[in-house]
């Protein structure tokens, strides 16, 4: 399948470089399980858009550490094309796209694949409930998210899995929700609340620190068999980790991503992976993991609040300078 609208590589096909030995060594976990990573969030970096935001997670320490970088831009509310049927609510669409150079291993294609379509659909569901769509009839609100760089763990073939459940896609989705929500707020679209995304995972911990060779060993025993995993669960201690990163090197038994509106105390999205027990005993894992994800998203929410506030203060300052004109053309002033 060649894409005739783009320049393609050699017909013979190319392969990503194969290394002599795998050089990827797992980073040592320095964070405590309840500490969230530092987030850099800035709005208004795509001036042609109505609203935009850039999110980076975590702030990188060195050049080579993989980080998650997303940009999000929002257009709207703008009129729906005349060919579409009448809609009394605004139509919110979300598009998430990985850049070709964003993922480890194989280069990503330009045409949207199933994973991207799935994430786009989840993103639009998570955001849809927060926007006051009833205020904007016959209009469209388009949200675009481009992933520039990510940490891996996307569950691709050939992507070395950290063991257990991959949380890469979940953290991409959760940060995309946070970033897009900040962009919607930046666009000045009326919202009920801001949505923040959070991820939490149940992690098998052995003796406090996850040691690499032990991880390997236990993986060999129980890679696929669920029974063996349950056995592992009995041997090790299961702890809840907020905001687990694919490069932390945890063995994640189960993970959950949520979209959470803190002011209304409502969940817009819940997505869990992996097996969790809910046998009604003291350790109800489903509740524990979702609660963990909510706690993580509450932390993220503080960052979104700050970013939106910063932008708002800047806007108010500008309005203060041009107050005489701004009062007369209320709608236009915001546009220009």
């Amino acid at each position: 399948m060649t894409d005739r609208r783009r320049i393609n590589g050699p017909l013979e096909g190319t392969i990503p470089p194969v290394f002599l030995t795998s050089s990827t060594h797992k980073s040592i976990i320095k964070r405590s399980p309840t500490t969230l990573r530092k987030i850099f969030l800035k709005t208004g970096l795509t001036p042609p858009a109505t609203g935009s935001a850039f999110l980076e997670l975590p702030t990188p320490s060195t050049h080579s550490t993989p980080t998650l970088k997303l940009t999000s831009s929002v257009y709207g509310p703008r009129p729906l094309p005349s060919s579409t049927t009448f809609s009394s609510n605004a139509r919110l669409t979300a598009e998430l796209k990985f850049s070709p150079f964003s993922t480890p291993g194989r280069r990503r294609g330009y045409i949207r694949d199933g994973v991207e379509r799935d994430l786009s659909a989840q993103l639009s569901i998570a955001l849809g409930k927060s926007v006051a769509v009833g205020k904007y009839p016959k209009s469209a609100i388009d949200v675009f998210v481009s992933v520039l760089d990510c940490e891996g763990g996307l569950g691709d073939a050939g992507d070395e899995a950290g063991g257990g459940v991959d949380v890469g896609l979940m953290s991409v989705l959760a940060t995309a929700i946070s970033c897009a929500s900040a962009a919607i707020a930046d666009a000045g679209i009326e919202c009920f609340d801001l949505v923040a995304g959070g991820v939490a995972g149940l992690v098998l911990e052995q003796g406090g620190v996850v040691e690499e060779d032990r991880v390997e060993k236990s993986l060999e025993v129980g890679q696929d068999s669920d029974d063996a995993r349950r056995g592992m669960r009995k041997n090790g201690k299961v702890t809840l980790v907020l905001d687990p990163s694919p490069i932390d090197g945890y063995i994640i038994l189960a993970a959950a991503a949520v979209g959470y509106m803190a002011a209304r105390d409502e969940l817009t999205l819940v997505w869990t992976k992996g097996s969790m027990g809910w046998d009604g005993d003291s350790t109800d894992e489903v509740e524990r993991i979702v609660d963990g994800a909510i706690t993580a998203s509450t932390g993220v929410r503080l960052v979104i609040n700050e970013a939106v506030k910063e932008r708002l203060l800047l806007g108010l300052k500008e309005m203060g300078l041009i107050r005489g004109k701004a009062v007369s053309g209320d709608g236009d002033a915001a546009m220009s």
């Binding site: 609208r5 783009r6 320049i7 393609n8 590589g9 050699p10 013979e12 096909g13 190319t14 392969i15 990503p16 470089p17 194969v18 290394f19 002599l20 030995t21 795998s22 050089s23 970096l45 795509t46 001036p47 042609p48 858009a49 935009s52 990188p60 050049h63 080579s64 550490t65 993989p66 980080t67 970088k69 940009t71 999000s72 831009s73 929002v74 257009y75 598009e95 796209k97 850049s99 070709p100 150079f101 964003s102 993922t103 480890p104 280069r107 330009y110 949207r112 388009d142 949200v143 675009f144 481009s146 520039l148 760089d149 990510c150 004109k325 053309g329 236009d332 546009m335 220009s336």
Partner: protein, 330 residues
Amino acid sequence: MTTAPPPSPPPPNPLSFPPATFQKLAPKIFLERHLQSTPATRPSGRNPDTFRTPSLHTNSLSHAHGSAVVRTGDTAVVCGVRGEVLSLAAGTGGRIVVLRTGEDGRGKNGEGEGDEVRERGLVVTNLEMGTGCSRDYHPGPPTDFAQAVTARLHRLLLSNKLISSQSLRILDPNTEEVKAYWVLYIDAVVISLDGNVLDAAWASILAALRSTRLPQAYWDQDTEVVVCYPEVSRYKSLDVKGLAFTASFAVIDLGAGKGGKVILSDPDEFEEGVCGERVMVCALEGEKVGWIEKGGGVGQVAEVVECVHRATERFKIWEQLFAEVLGSSG
């Protein structure tokens, strides 16, 4: 009636709009009025010959072999370069590969720079604009404009011969025979678009190529595959020869007696929409010119000379920025 009714106060000026509305209603007149004022000023506040100040960051992406972010005003482009291996042994089992020119430059090393980059398509340039960078671009297949810009970037890259085939060859360590090639996938993603995407995209591609470090690879005879050394210290930077920078201009004709033709350097989205005439000059090192494109409008040589002059000035600014950011390695 002898007494006139009390005159109602006339509306101050019924046809006056705020500037933003005027700009939307009559874009051409809006721009012309700006340029006719003394001194001629563009709506953005720049002089006609002022370019936007560029900024550059390199190597901020972790999964690309080289990357750069270029921002000029409100136009921002991220470019990532990724190397993949084209194995000659695996792909050509029994098949005959017809090179685009008859000459086979593989045997010669050193001076005999057979144009393998062009023949085998070792450089793959693409520009992605469907990222919500501007109001008019939607995800999906690239628009005609995006395809045209991509083709120009690709042509510029090949015609300036910036990448030597030698640095892309992967050799058999014993026989010094070329067994495979690196293929460079150059992907420029436009994050924000406010006109003149070509200059920003080109600068980001050049900066990304200059910051690219490929793993050291060799042909393993036993397994018949290309293997790379994982050590970062053995990564080699690409041999990028020389510098070349593009400068784009938009030309507007104000009419005889009203100022004549005005050349606008580094036009933004609004100016690009209004002006029909475009000039693009690619300046090379040593005050040379590598490429001139001009279209739309009746031209005079003086105009092109002026553009070339401005492009060489612009070249110096880019050169300085590259030297600052990329250091001596550039």
